[in-house]
Amino acid sequence: MSHDNDGQRFDRLPATADERTVGGRATREEVVDYFADRFGIPPATFDDYTFWEKGAGKIWVYGGEASTPLEIEAIGMTCLRTRQEHWKPTTDFVQRFGRAATACVIDLAPAEARRFAAGADQEIPRWDGDWGYLIAAHDVAGEREPIGVGLYVHGELRSMVPKGRQRDLES
């Protein structure tokens, strides 16, 4: 039995494909595996969290208590876009959980980091890892800090920082 997704409410993701009742809905297992396979974020990172879908393919990560389904404005933060060819993590998720990433992280020099935060695309020919969505990071007071999500193709890093989050930073 398969239902359509109701985009107006929050539904908790099924644990695995066996428990899926809504067509096309990602499972918790797939989401956790994606973060582990793509970015090396350990699955245990999410042990205390639940994942939810509201809107078509918009996945939310939440640490509080709630019953499913749920009709409210928001829970936790949006973390991932599914229901498209390539899944895409959000800037806010990457800033919150991206420190745990060990793969597909591109380190930017200060000027590159500023351009990225301002939303600019830039030629960065030195990346020899996988193409696709990467975590862009820079050095903050001696430690690596994720800035947001970039799309890397054909030697170009496109900033995926949403308009409302873009900033012109001075230094």
Binding site: Y62, E73, A74, T78, V140, A141, I147, L169
Partner: protein, 302 residues
């Protein structure tokens, strides 16, 4: 400044008070410990060449020397959040603990709600509610930028709030940072007193009474409710708390606050209040060079 004249009898050093109300405020930010420890946030500010001063009463509150506090890496990363110094007081007085269920019933734009989540190490449940849909988007934006994953956002009138949607039926603690006449924000917003009238004070007090009553009803016995406003009007402060004490099962309790303040009033305009109202705090702009605030702490009784 004329509406403030009515407070001449109750405020010490009234001329100092008026003078302070005319001075602009600096740029205060709160360190968001969900994203960074205080040490790391300070190191990041130093790396950016930004000077700061930590508040004596709270190492997480900083006065930042910059004209553009939103255009810094620390802000972009959510290490810091622009929030007035006195506005950081009510969540500290509420003192939420990791794992608890906490309600912020008038939460937008989210500075205090995210501060509550941070004080709980982002573990537990913070229900951030606001009745104004337009302000909800600012609340959501701030919650996500600051990385609060324990926060659920609802859009209801707090006066008749239902918990049916959740798996629990009462909160451990509730913050009522009530909509008010905002007299205490005059240093940030010079227009704050433009629409002042006794009629406005009286109508907003009616709403405040409805919200504080629902907050007490929705909080468990032994739980805590903090009532705060950014105004000086006793009609919106002591009188509202007095109404709550009269109508609901609760009592006013003491709290420590290492910020200079005056006690709550036991008398205003020919009306007297319960002596326990002295346990509330009136924070005036000339005391600590901040905005103005009122804070009262209540314990829910049987």
């Amino acid at each position: 400044m004329e509406p403030l004249e009515r407070y001449r009898p109750i405020i010490d050093d009234f001329e100092d008070f008026l003078a302070a109300c005319q001075r602009p405020l600096g740029n205060a930010v709160r360190v968001n410990t969900i994203k960074a420890s205080v040490d790391r946030a300070l190191a990041a500010l130093e790396a950016e060449g930004l000077a700061y001063e930590q508040a004596d009463w709270n190492p997480r509150v900083l006065d930042l020397e910059t004209d553009a506090p939103g255009s810094t890496w620390t802000s972009f990363h959510g290490f810091t959040h622009g929030q007035e110094e006195v506005s950081a007081v009510p969540p500290v007085v509420l003192d939420p603990q990791p794992g608890e269920r906490v309600w912020d019933c008038c939460a937008a734009p989210g500075g205090k709600a995210t501060q509550l989540a941070a004080l709980m190490d982002d573990r537990g449940t913070v229900v951030a509610n606001d009745n104004n849909l337009g302000r909800i988007s600012a609340l959501r934006f701030n919650a996500e930028r600051l990385g609060a994953t324990s926060l659920a956002v609802t859009n209801e009138d707090a006066r008749n709030y239902s918990l049916e949607r959740f798996e629990f039926d009462e909160f451990d603690r509730t913050l009522v940072d009530a909509p008010c006449s905002c007299e205490g924000t005059i240093r940030k917003n010079p227009d704050a007193l433009d629409n002042w009238s006794e009629g406005h004070v009286s109508s907003v007090a009616g709403i405040q009474k409805g919200i504080i009553r629902r907050a007490i009803q929705a909080t468990r016995e032994g739980g805590t409710v903090v009532y705060s406003t950014c105004t000086f009007a006793p009609e919106e402060n002591e009188a509202v708390v007095q109404h709550a004490v009269d109508e609901e099962d609760c009592r006013v309790v003491d709290f420590a606050l290492e910020l200079e303040h005056a006690p709550g009033l036991t008398e205003w305009d020919g009306r007297s209040f319960d002596s326990s109202l002295e346990k509330a705090a009136r924070i005036y702009p000339h005391h600590n060079d901040t905005g103005g605030f009122f804070v009262a702490k209540l314990e829910v009784t049987a």
